[in-house]
């Protein structure tokens, strides 16, 4: 059997397993707490797995190992920001949010503020962040599946995007949070299993001597020692160094403001379980990123020069799959074909789990924040609200498909970094202020969210990402817009270094220019509830 056929078969197996899980979960989904929060009945370990499954996107699995394979040490810099960020989620956000919120990110702000303005702002930011992230994943899925199945026509990419979109809509509308969570758990098991297998096989080739692996990678990459030192990718100029600093800030501060991560803390019965889930997630994510070292340097060390060129042509995305093929025995061997197919299926499962989480998050926010509170003034019935959430999942999924199809030829990988930047600039300031600053009020929250969101997106529009960036040597266009249009004046690709302080500043400014005694008065309640769990939402008993 050829590798493509085997890959196809494994894709079908992944789809069948996840569809079966979704049907099973749908029978256990009755009320709103089931649909939005999986009944709050998951254990710390289960939720830790699901968090890892939600967080480690294809950008992590294929992107980081690919970045290490091509840029050496600088690829590794990415993963450290992604991991350290979890300490903010653990220490400042997870438990307090679990105790004071219910279904969405906005719940926690709305606890003591004017409902309409803060829910509208928080829902806007939730949907924007989720759609950016979703688009990047779906376009990535189209390109990836085409590469892995060797079917690189326009039509096959479109079919993949539509299929992934249809599956994610199905998981969310039918399985709700329970179905989505189990899809993420299955994906985490597959991802960790596949990564451990390849890591062990790579290290075994070097008798488990890391230094030898690094040496071989440096030699084979053609870069020599520079491959193992920082600077190959980000150290080109002062601008690129500041850009990297800006990116690092967004990564480390953005995670704890990503709505699809935040709502995972609601799926457990208590704050202590939320703590345990983050501890598990840190362990799993940390172990995974350490293994990306073996994957990335392994790909640089072990791939033949044609295969290495193929990795470079794919922007790094093929590093892990081709490495799997190489350690399985190489091109044309059964072992190589089996491992390539296995890792491709893992990548596919990875994408499915992440897009499902994102769709659920934005649908929940539209139904719970916008429909139930802003439009229906809190008078919507539970049944109505869930019906709207399902419709919203269809609409958002449909929009994502319609946007991803024309965008598939564009380089939109920057959207993931942008989603982190928006999360850090718009969401984190209001979350932190709300939990720790009595005086914080509605105007502060609204200014922080819109200010952070608009400045992030605005700066990116006028950055080299969108226009005016070409390769000096080849004249190749590296921006989103055609070379004839150049509207860029902001020099950095990552807006975080400006927009994150701005978000915090606007949150402060809005607060001190408004008086809201009611909001301050309810801080006692929020503080007691978030720190003790007194009166927090309970798990659903079936």
């Amino acid at each position: 059997m050829s590798s493509d056929t085997l890959t196809g078969v494994l894709f079908v197996v992944v789809v069948l397993i996840t569809v079966a899980i979704t049907f099973w979960a749908s029978r256990q989904t009755k009320g709103a707490a089931d649909f939005y929060a999986g009944g709050r009945g998951f254990t710390g370990f289960q939720n830790g797995m699901a968090i890892s499954g939600d967080y480690m996107s294809a950008a992590s699995f294929l992107g980081i190992s690919g970045a290490i394979a091509l840029s050496g040490y600088d690829g590794f810099l990415y993963s450290i920001g992604f991991l350290v960020a979890w300490l903010i989620a653990l220490l400042l956000v997870a438990e307090l949010l679990r105790n004071s919120g219910r279904y969405t990110m906005a719940d926690q702000l709305a606890y003591r503020m004017k409902q309409r303005p803060v829910r509208t702002a928080a829902a806007t930011s939730t949907v924007v962040v989720s759609i950016f992230y979703l688009l990047a994943q779906m376009v990535g899925a189209g390109a990836l599946v085409a590469l892995l199945l060797g079917a690189e026509s326009e039509a096959s990419k479109n079919i993949t995007i539509i299929l992934v979109g249809a599956l994610m809509i199905f998981y969310v509308t039918v399985g709700g949070m329970k179905g989505t969570t189990w899809v993420q758990i299955v994906k985490a098991v597959l991802l960790m299993g596949g990564t451990i297998l390849i890591t062990v096989l790579v290290l075994a080739k070097f008798d488990f001597n890391l230094s030898d692996l690094l040496g071989a990678a440096a030699d084979n990459s053609g870069q020599g020692e520079a491959f193992l030192q920082p600077g190959l990718k980000y150290g080109v100029s002062t601008t690129s160094k500041i850009d990297f600093l800006s990116l690092s800030l967004a990564l480390v501060l953005g995670t704890a403001g990503l709505p699809h991560i935040l709502i995972r803390f609601y799926t457990v019965p208590t704050a202590q379980t939320a703590r345990k889930s983050v501890l598990w997630a840190i362990g799993l994510i940390g172990a995974f990123y350490l293994m990306t070292l073996a994957l990335g340097f392994g790909a640089a060390a072990l791939l033949s020069s044609d295969k290495y060129a193929e990795v470079a042509a794919s922007g790094g995305n093929l590093a892990s799959p081709l490495l799997a093929e190489a350690v399985g025995g190489g091109d044309g061997t059964t072992g190589g074909a089996v491992l390539l197919a296995l890792i491709s299926a893992v990548a596919f499962a990875t994408i499915l789990a992440v897009v499902a989480g994102l769709t659920l998050t934005s649908a929940s926010s539209v139904a719970h924040d916008l429909y139930a509170t802003v439009f229906k003034n809190g008078q919507a019935s539970e049944r109505d609200e869930i019906r709207v959430a399902r419709i919203a999942a269809f609409v958002i999924g449909g929009i994502a498909i319609l946007l991803a199809i024309p965008a598939k030829g564009l380089n939109i990988a920057f959207l993931v970094a942008l989603a982190f930047a928006v999360a850090a600039s718009a969401n984190l300031p209001s979350l932190i202020y709300n939990l720790f600053w009595r005086r914080f009020n509605t105007r502060g929250a609204v200014w922080a969210i819109y200010g952070g969101l608009i400045s992030c997106v605005g700066l990116v529009i006028f950055s080299p990402v969108v226009s005016g960036k070409g390769e000096d040597a080849t004249g190749k266009n590296l921006s989103l817009l055609p070379t004839s249009i150049d509207i860029s004046w902001f020099p950095l690709e990552n807006p975080g270094i400006v927009s994150i302080p701005l978000g915090f500043f606007l949150g402060w400014l809005g607060t001190v220019t408004a008086k809201e005694p009611e909001t301050e008065a309810r801080y006692n309640e929020l503080e007691v509830r978030s720190l003790t769990g007194a009166g927090a939402e309970q798990a659903v008993k079936h």
């Binding site: 300490l87 030192q229 150290g235 509170t373 003790t532």
Partner: protein, 130 residues
């Protein structure tokens, strides 16, 4: 709380009207807030998480800045092909694991008992009232 999560078609968002919350404010929380136990709880929590957050963010930024601007130091080889940059990067993993463990240890010992006591008082009061 049970009324909110029941599937009887009751409005799911009753307490969340679009006005301020002053009228559904539960004075019991103010009472708990004023207790000495709560002051101790908040102090115990904040005295760990604030300094720790500042510390790990500074430690991380130091790493980012060194990667950017201390190229020669980071490129020094420690053992074989393993250089300072790699060791520094791995240390970020070690410190993250350690801080996560330390936080859990601290919360279990110093914060959770106080939180459980206050939660119990809340539940006793609410249970008595309803």
């Amino acid at each position: 709380m049970t009324a909110i999560t029941s599937a009887k078609g009751a409005p799911v968002s009753t307490p969340e009207q679009s006005h301020d919350h002053a009228r559904d404010h539960d004075p019991l929380y103010d009472e708990l807030h004023a207790t000495a136990e709560f002051t101790r709880l908040r102090k115990a929590f904040r005295s760990f998480v604030f300094p720790t957050t500042v510390a790990f963010l500074a430690w991380y930024l130091l790493y980012v800045v060194m990667s950017n601007w201390a190229h020669d130091f980071m490129s020094k080889e420690v053992w074989g092909n393993i250089n300072v940059a790699l060791v520094f990067g791995i240390l970020q993993f070690v410190s993250t694991f350690f801080i996560a463990w330390l936080y859990a240890f601290y919360m279990n010992r110093r914060v959770d008992p106080l939180a459980r006591e206050l939660e119990r008082r809340y539940n006793d009061q609410v249970g008595g009232a309803r």
